[in-house]
């Protein structure tokens, strides 16, 4: 029940961070990281996972 970010694909644009309704995404070290404890996959909030929907690179925000 969580998403993760493939760091090598990430452009570090940060859109996922401010779209995440759970505050689960933070910039750590060199990349954005999803906190699996906070991530709800947007269930009950939005019909699609916000991080994956806004991410400009496909297959970057994916199910963990």
């Amino acid at each position: 029940m969580a998403f993760k970010i493939i760091a090598s694909q990430c452009t570090q644009c940060g859109a996922c961070e401010f779209e995440c309704p759970s505050g689960a995404i933070k910039f750590k070290g060199e990349t954005y990281v999803i906190d699996p404890i906070k991530c709800t996959e947007c269930e009950g909030t939005f019909e699609t996972q916000q991080c994956a929907s806004v991410c400009p690179v496909s297959k970057t925000c994916v199910p963990a």
Binding site: T11, C13, G14, A15, F18, F46, T48, Q50, P56, V57
Partner: protein, 493 residues
């Protein structure tokens, strides 16, 4: 090599009145569509006040004033087929050069650093690398911080328009007087070929549905800005076979909604940039195709022709990029704004541009009184100030002007490889310069050696440094009169 900069001395030096041929009568530019090059007496004075220091909104101002972009807004809500988000956005930011993303605090440091060193600086823009209205927190924080330190800097943003309607009120509050919206279509079926998806209202939309939403948001954003008196520039990427013909329709729509300026830019689609268009073999337009479309748009919304498609972190006059001089590691940790250079420069420009406008007006009169139906294409080497003040071998671009019965108008620029690098002349690059200048009749520069002059002549292009340090229009007016006028140049006082 030291950076090209207009020295204050060079600006306050030579005057050209004594070089103007006698009998020149003043006259105004006949073309009302050369909006970006319009002079104050041709436009509302309130509008002129807004654009007179903005190099992108005024062709006249671009000879004197510089802009800088700070790359504080990396997040985007749209995917465009000409942009590859894994690297710098190909159309906003030239490929192959690293751009530094900044936090609002770092941006403030950079703006002050540049303002202290580049007296021409007048505009701070945020043009991504993502979307400035979508990545709003960063954009707003940057504007607020900078406006507090440098009160007279003009704030400017570039946006795809999707989030724009939500930001218009705050833009107005922050005195953002200039907004650029990229509008590539007004028909969502064409939009669907340009935008694979948008992110709006918490979900991703695709196809015609996505383009419809984008289109409606763009139009309403534009109308809201117009209603508030904020000047808008519309950027359109010309994509041959996709929206090239359609841009005529786009021009009509944006004109009806009060757009101040329309900037049609050529698609950049190098496969190496990894964009969808680059990889699918979609070509960009040739320089002459772009000019042909721009010429067809004359009479619609005013056209911008002096765009250099600059990077999201560009610094300096439009024809140059000094961004590499002001990377974070080159800036002092603590900077304090020192207004002295900018103030001195502005005082000089105020005098100088008055002189130049008078000279220009006389030059236009000369072209008209020459009474010829012919037109002359002139390439000018300049490093700013509206003067012919660059050596042929040092020019990285030539500004191209057309003198015709309609007047003297700026038609665009042509980038070249510098012929003379570090004092050594390169024959190979001269061939490149000659082919780039195809169609040009005469090259004007501050200095040129006999060798390149002869080689240009063999290529069918005349070159002269006889008008070195003159105002551009003065020289072109004199040339035109000499070329086509009934009175030869002997009339020169």
């Amino acid at each position: 090599m030291s950076a090209p900069m207009i020295s204050l001395q060079s600006l306050s030096g030579t005057t050209v009145f004594d070089q103007l041929p006698a009998g020149a009568k003043s006259g105004a530019c006949a073309s009302s569509s050369c909006g970006s090059s319009a002079k104050p007496h041709e436009m509302d004075s309130a509008v002129w006040e807004k654009i007179k220091d903005h190099p992108c909104f005024s062709e006249e101002a671009h000879h004197y004033f510089a802009r800088m972009h700070v790359a504080v807004a990396p997040a985007c809500n749209i995917q465009c087929n000409y942009c590859n988000r894994k690297y710098d956005c190909a159309n906003e930011s030239r490929p192959g050069v690293v751009s530094e993303r900044l936090t609002p605090d770092q941006a403030l440091r950079k703006v002050i650093g540049v303002a202290n060193e580049v007296p021409q600086l007048s505009v701070l823009g945020i043009a991504g690398p993502g979307d400035a209205c979508y990545d709003w927190k960063n954009t707003k924080a940057t504007f607020e911080r900078v406006a507090k330190e440098i009160a007279d800097i003009k704030l400017c943003i570039s946006t795809n328009g999707l989030a724009l309607p939500d930001r218009v009120a705050e833009l107005a509050e922050m005195n953002v007087d200039h907004v650029t919206i990229t509008i590539n279509m007004v028909d969502p079926r064409i939009g669907a070929k340009i935008y694979p998806w948008i992110f709006y209202d918490n979900r991703r939309y695709t196809g015609v549905e996505a383009a419809t939403i984008l289109h409606e948001r763009q139009m309403s954003g534009l109308e809201m800005l117009t209603a508030r008196g904020i000047l808008t520039k519309i950027n359109s990427v010309m994509i041959p076979g996709v929206n090239d013909e359609h841009l005529i329709e786009v021009n009509k729509w944006v004109k009806e909604r009060g757009a101040f300026l329309h900037n049609v830019m050529p698609l950049i689609s190098d496969p190496a940039h990894g964009t969808h268009y680059g990889l699918s073999g979609q070509r960009g337009p040739k320089a002459m195709e772009l000019k042909a479309l721009q010429d067809r748009l004359e009479g619609g919304a005013k056209l911008m022709r002096h765009c250099r498609q600059c990077r999201a972190d560009a610094v300096g006059l439009l024809g140059e990029d000094r961004g590499q001089e002001f990377t974070l590691d080159r800036l002092p940790d603590k900077v304090t704004y020192d207004a002295s250079k900018r103030e001195t420069y502005r005082a000089v420009v105020a005098r100088e541009r008055g002189d130049r406008m008078a000279a220009k007006s006389e030059a236009l009169g000369m072209v008209k009184t020459a009474g010829s139906g012919k037109s002359l294409l002139v390439a000018v080497a300049t490093k700013g100030g509206g003067r012919i003040n660059e050596h042929f071998g040092h020019a990285k671009e030539f500004q191209v002007y057309e003198a015709s019965p309609k007047g003297i108008s700026f038609v665009g620029h042509r980038k070249v490889e510098q012929y003379c690098l570090g004092g050594r002349a390169e024959d190979k690059s001269l061939d490149g310069v000659i082919s780039t200048l195809e169609g040009v009749d005469i090259v004007l520069c501050a200095r040129i050696g006999n060798c390149p002059k002869d080689r240009l002549k063999e290529g069918g292009i005349r070159a002269t440094d006889a008008y070195g340090y003159d105002y551009i229009e003065t020289a072109i007016g004199a040339l035109y009169a000499a070329e086509f006028g009934s009175e030869p140049l002997a009339a020169t006082a």
